[in-house]
């Protein structure tokens, strides 16, 4: 049983009550004092100063990060992505030229002409060198590009092995050489070249993507700096009111620093993003069209020579030639009509002209083949005459190559400009925002001390 106490002691209760009343009154007093303090001028100054410093530092840091990001991407673009895209384009060309030379060497009998053999060995050497150029830097970042490069690099020695087998048989007078040549050429046309084409379009695509991100000015940094500047001006006015003094020189220094940074960022950022935009419009996008055009021209040339070597009556090669040439014509016709593109348009019209002549020469080839005149057709396709296919193709290819070189240097100059205008801006942003923060502190410290 529990004993019941009739008269409870008051002491513990009193003990209990006393702290409770203190506890409830004390916070009220603390908050009261705090809010009272907050209403005082020094507190307002302290809060204003902290806010101004934070905003200035955040704006400066964001500007520095955005600028550094841009610089890094443009730098990668200039030194890795764009050279890689160019190397993949050269790689496709070298492979295509090598196969055309190997096939042409077999069209007319006997020992292959030295110039054709030299063209083959030169192109194979260039292709192997381009493989290295195309793979530098790709290994670490791009798994699918790496897979394509590996397939090309392992396929190339197999291809050259088959070509040399064909050549030895040819040299010994055995007709099976033709079968080896056909196997090699089929491997090149249906395996290696499509891989090279895919690799190139991947790389060209990533050149465009890399720039697309940075064709607009760094709006976030610009907005934050503007906010910081407005805050500093408002702070100046408020402070003048509280202290009944003239404008605070420290805050003026801060405002000037932020304004300078904003101006710098606006000018450099706008120039940089305009240059990036120009690199896209006048460089990367036309370059994609031009390289596609050159690949189409080389595909059509392969169709033309292979169809002749294999005396294909099913018309598969003639059809493929027509398709490839029609797409080339379309690209060339659209190119200058775009209006905005002003680079290399004269070279493109030269290529278009050569393409038309080539098409006419091919119609002659087709007529000769229809009449059963294979030797006559072979003379038009591989002959040295100025009105023959070889000359027209060579003109179209050279014009496209020149256009690619011109457009590429335009592209690189624009990217370089976009990159170099940002020089020093990243560290400048950090320094100026630090100056602005220091200005706030230096400006407010003497005013705060007046209240101690």
């Amino acid at each position: 049983m529990v004993a019941v106490r009739e008269a409870p002691s008051t002491e513990p209760l009193g003990d209990d009550l006393a702290p409770r009343s203190v506890g409830s009154a004390d916070p009220q007093g603390r908050y009261g004092r705090l809010s009272e303090f907050l209403r005082t001028t020094p507190a307002k100054m302290l809060a204003l100063g902290t806010a101004l410093i934070v905003v200035a530092l955040v704006a400066g840091t964001v500007a520095a990060i955005q600028v550094a990001d841009r610089q890094r991407t443009l730098d990668t673009l200039l030194n890795q992505v764009e050279p890689q895209a160019n190397a993949t384009q050269n790689l496709y060309s070298s492979l295509s030229i090598a196969d055309a030379a190997a096939t042409t060497a077999f069209i007319f009998g006997g020992i292959e002409p030295a110039v054709v053999r030299d063209r083959y060995t030169q192109s194979i050497g260039e292709a192997a060198a381009d493989l290295i150029g195309a793979s530098s830097g790709i290994i670490a970042t791009n798994a699918s590009g790496q897979r394509l490069l590996t397939e090309l690099s392992t396929g190339l020695p197999v291809y050259t092995g088959l070509i040399e087998t064909a050549r030895s048989y040819n040299r010994s007078g055995y007709p099976v050489g033709t079968a080896y040549l056909r196997e090699a050429s089929s491997m090149m046309q249906s395996t290696l070249l499509p891989i090279a084409e895919e690799l190139h379009s991947q790389q060209a695509e990533s050149v465009v993507q890399n720039q697309d991100e940075f064709a607009t000015p760094p709006w976030l940094a610009i907005g934050l700096l503007l906010l910081s500047l407005i805050a500093l001006v408002v702070g100046l006015v408020l402070l003048a009111g509280w202290t009944r003094r003239m404008l605070n020189p420290g805050l003026i220094l801060s405002a000037v620093a932020i304004a300078a940074l904003l101006g710098w960022l606006l000018i450099a950022g706008l120039i940089s993003s305009t240059s990036t935009g120009r690199a896209l419009e006048q460089g990367a996008r036309p370059l994609m069209q031009l390289t596609t055009g050159r690949i189409l021209a080389q595909q059509a040339r392969a169709d033309e020579t292979l169809g002749l070597v294999r005396r294909d009556v099913k018309g598969g090669y003639a059809e493929a030639f027509g398709t490839h040439l029609a797409r080339l014509e379309e690209i060339l016709a659209e190119y200058p009509n775009d209006g905005r593109v002003k680079v290399a348009t004269d070279l493109v019209s030269q290529a278009a002209e050569a393409e038309k002549d080539w098409s006419a020469a091919h119609e002659r080839v087709q007529r000769l083949l229809d009449n059963g005149d294979w030797a006559g057709a072979a003379a038009v396709v591989t002959g040295p005459g100025e009105e023959d296919s070889t000359a027209h193709f060579a003109r179209a290819d050279a014009a496209l190559d020149d256009a690619i070189v011109t457009t590429r240097s335009e592209l690189r100059a624009d990217i370089d400009r976009a990159h170099s205008t940002l020089y020093g801006l990243g560290s400048g942003a950090l320094v100026l925002s630090a100056v602005a923060a220091a200005g706030v502190g230096v400006g407010l410290w003497p005013r705060l001390r007046e209240y101690q």
Partner: protein, 342 residues
């Protein structure tokens, strides 16, 4: 993050020993303590084995024959052809619209291929198409358009021979073409101009001595030829790999993608002539009478060609062409005796 270095350690110990593995593990550990700040570095893609050579364009495995083998519609003697015009060349044929068309054009268009050594192949030294079939075609041109060099060769894969005749892309096909009743339904043939026997070509010392040894092996034949049907009939256990041209069969044999080639001895001799390590083995699997294929509606051309073949038999041209190309098959057996329908 899996360190790539530990990946290569897993692959290499057999080659480079444990010291390398240990060093690699150390590197891996230091990489991991470094906090893995780098992007995944060079993971070398596993691309499989590199020993398999490519196949010729269009090489496939022939589907097994559907249903029991048909010997084609029974057409009596398939080798019987139309009798020549009364005047054997060089006497001119009677006036005919279809012959006039070829004569006006001034060229005879003949379909063949460049991969049948001894019958039709591209001479590497001159680039010209040469061989037994090519010479027969030139003799036809001599009688038809007056000049053996006014012949234009169109390259046909074996499977393209009948369509080319039916579309009249070519005037005639002179391309080791066996006369069968089945083919006779679509195209017409001249009289027999060569008798071949189907046999087997294998690598010396491979243990293959005939069709019986081909069970479970891979055998090459050109697509659309009677050789494919014959080998599937004689040795159903063999896998038949088909290629567009006979030359491609030599390629796949040398690349060890097939164990043997089976077709007419005339073609096999041409392949064996290019590789001293090959030999023709086994008994004859079938007799293959070659005829010149012509469009079915062009009876005048059939008579004209038969007249030309008759001239070659009589004046010794046939024997001369045989001696030029086919001595490797033995002395000339003399031209095959023609059979006529009318």
């Amino acid at each position: 993050m899996t360190s790539p270095a530990s990946g290569s350690a897993g692959r290499r110990p057999t080659r480079q020993g444990w010291r390398t593995a240990g060093a690699v593990l150390l590197v891996a550990a230091s990489l991991m303590t470094a906090g893995c700040t780098q992007a995944e570095p060079g993971i070398v893609a596993d691309t499989g084995g590199y020993t398999e050579p490519p196949l010729p364009e269009g090489a496939t495995i022939a589907p097994p024959p559907t249903g029991p083998p048909t010997n084609g519609a029974n057409c009596g003697d398939p080798t019987a052809s139309l009798r020549p015009f009364p005047g054997i060349p060089p006497e001119p044929p009677p006036p005919s619209a279809s012959l006039a068309e070829i004569q006006t054009r001034g060229r005879l268009i003949v379909g063949l291929d460049t991969g049948s050594n001894l019958f039709s192949f591209r001479d590497p030294a001159t680039g010209a198409i040469e061989g037994f079939d090519a010479d027969i075609a030139r003799e036809l041109a001599r009688d038809l358009v007056g000049d053996p060099n006014r012949v234009e060769f169109r390259i046909l894969p074996s499977v393209g021979r009948i369509p080319a005749l039916m579309n009249s892309t070519v005037d005639a096909v002179v391309k080791t073409m066996t006369i069968t009743c089945e083919r006779r339904e679509k195209v017409d043939f001249s009289t027999v101009y060569f008798e071949a026997k189907q046999r087997v070509l294998a690598v010396k010392g491979s243990g293959i001595t005939g069709a019986a040894d081909l069970a479970g092996k891979r055998v090459c034949a050109a697509e659309g030829t009677t050789s494919v049907d014959r080998i599937q009939l004689v040795q159903p256990e063999a896998t038949v790999v088909t290629v567009p041209n006979w030359g491609d069969c030599l390629v796949v044999l040398q690349q060890r993608q097939v164990d043997a080639v089976s077709t007419d001895d005339s073609i096999l001799a041409g392949l064996a002539a290019q590789d001293p390590y090959l030999e023709i083995v086994g008994e004859s699997l079938s007799s293959e009478p070659y005829g010149i294929g012509i469009n079915k509606s062009d009876a005048d051309l059939v008579r004209m060609v038969n007249g030309s073949l008759e001239r070659m038999r009589r004046d010794g041209t046939w024997n001369r062409i045989y001696d030029r190309w086919l001595r490797v098959l033995g002395p000339s057996p003399g031209p095959p005796v023609p059979h006529y329908l009318d």
